[in-house]
């Protein structure tokens, strides 16, 4: 089974790297190829998702939800079949908005095993719930 590819991008201009690094490493340890692009604008995220032809887009979100929603809308418009999941400092009202767009959301305190399970499911490696 060829490895699945996951894009990891940060929508904000916040340089905290602890969280994304831990998640990226956990995904790598679970057999995924993780393409990390760091802090990126909507256009940069879409270009990466398309050119790298990833199986899953992972967004690290902190800050105003509208910035992230713009990125989500752009990815879903350019590649409607591409799943997206998100994590980071996301308050409850913002989690709901992301979930309404079909994303799986992992606020602080989420377990890495749950994130990896989600990645497996969203990339088709394990059955959908």
């Amino acid at each position: 089974m060829k490895p699945k590819r996951i894009l990891m991008a940060k929508t904000g201009l916040d340089g905290h790297w602890r969280g994304p690094t831990i998640v990226a490493r956990a995904l790598r340890d679970a057999g995924f190829e993780v393409i990390m692009i760091g802090m990126a604008t909507t256009a940069e995220i879409v270009a990466a998702a398309i050119d790298e032809d990833v199986d899953l887009v992972g967004l690290n979100i902190g800050g105003h939800i509208d910035v992230a929603l713009r990125a989500v809308d752009a990815v879903q418009s350019a590649a409607p079949d591409m799943p997206i999941f998100a994590g980071g400092t996301i308050p409850p009202h913002a989690c709901k908005q992301l979930e309404a767009k079909g994303l799986e959301v992992f606020p602080p305190g989420s377990m890495l095993t749950d994130i990896v399970d989600s990645a497996n499911r969203l990339t088709g490696l394990s059955p959908a719930q």
């Binding site: 201009l13 916040d14 340089g15 994304p20 831990i22 800050g63 910035v67 308050p91 606020p107 602080p108």
Partner: protein, 543 residues
Amino acid sequence: MRPKDPNDTVQACSDIPLKSYYTAEDIPSSHAQRANIAPGEAPYHRGFHPSGYRSKPWRIFQLSGFGKPEDENERIKFLLKNGETGFIMEHDRNTADHCYNVDHPEVLARREDVGLTGAVMQSVRDTAICLDGLPMDSSFGHAGGAVVQHAPFALAAYWAVAKKRGYDLSKLAGTGQSDFNLTYLGCVTKQQIPTQAGLRFNGDIIEFCTEHLPRWVPVSIAGYNGADTGLTPDQELGSLFANAVEYLDEIKLRGRIPLEVAARGCGGVSFRASIKIFEEACKMRAARLMWSDLLKERYDIKDERVANLRIHCVTAGSKMAYQQPMNNLVRGALMAVSAVLGGVQSLGVSGYDEALSIPSEHAHQMSVRIQQILMEETGLTDVTDPLGGSYYVETLTAQLVEKSWAFFEEIQSRGGYLACLDSGWLHAKAEENQHKEFMQTESGEANIVGVTMAHDDSSPFEIDGFIGTDDAFDVALERLKEVKRTRHEKGAKTALKDLERVCRGSDNIMPVMMDCLEAEATLGEVGDVYREVFGDWRTPIQC
């Protein structure tokens, strides 16, 4: 974290094994004598002043601000009214951290984030609005400029406003920060000046303050930002003093001001207060001891006043949980207790909503209340260094000192603190620890109440995130245009040209920075000069 078997090893965060109880025999002989001294005696692990909090309580000092400068002004006034005894200006991170104006493409692409983490202050006019009606002369203000490349601008702005209001700068008390740990280690910005340029800035700030603002703490090394990224207490200590050495060696090299004077300036530092109560209190005691020894042994500084290490503490933001946020009131209080037991000089308690957003008014108020309760109701201020003489505390303090010096030496052997930032070595250490900590939580070895156990499935959350205001960007853009339209353009351009000249040379940057602020040059224009002259730091990690 309770061991499955009482005979299993329990480790402190610094990887020091903890016995189930301690006796006098456990105190290392090297420290045994020191355990018997009184507060006010070298090496000061028991505190610098014998009367401790009886004569001077710690400063209630909360990080604050968001939105437009007037929003931050309002929040600061709210906190002062509620009882904080100093104030901190927080700058919007999208602009300040990068020295961008709001019309920079990277900021424009994320316009809604502008003002979320601090107020946008692009010119001296904004700073004046933020400081309107604040007791700059009688209180103790932190000008912001936590970020190294932003510090000269932030400090000059504050001082320019003070000057305009007729305050005597030579009497102005307050603090800067300009902390390498923040953007070179913990929160790596997309682009910033190289570490050597940063060292130059901080040397200039220290020298300028020595000459013109003797009551101002020029820079503050913030162990917090190393610790919250993953450094253990011994690493937090070791790297902090390695950082201090960079500053002191730089001042020594320049040879323009006496080292004792610079060291006094460098004696204002900042630590993280995390949740292992005793280890954190020991850390503060260890810090004072290490500073005293460092000054004598490495720099031969005999003036005892210099050994007064003034510690500001911020409770660990990363320990605040997203789930069941009210639990965080308890966490904040307990971390504050450990800081107070450690004898710190000022304290900021993270908001109970820290994991969701910047603090709401209520969360901010609670942070002040926690400190007031500790100060007024608990008797914690009655006795200096109440933990002194405890077999456990004296043993752990000594062990922590030993381990921290070992880390310090390792940093020195690798070229020093800045070299370890440039190479990514410190980041690798932090990452190693983060990974370990996460694995402990994931495996169930370590518990977080409400997160890994004691789940609350019935109610989702009791609170939501605070979102500040929604007009910060628009107002900032308008004000940026207005400044450029109404300022004396020639004066601003001349000042910026001078700034470029000074940046390329070796004159002190602060006088020309004052000129820039007074000529109403903007943050982004100053940042452009930096980018042109200094280029970009070679980031050692992928993020």
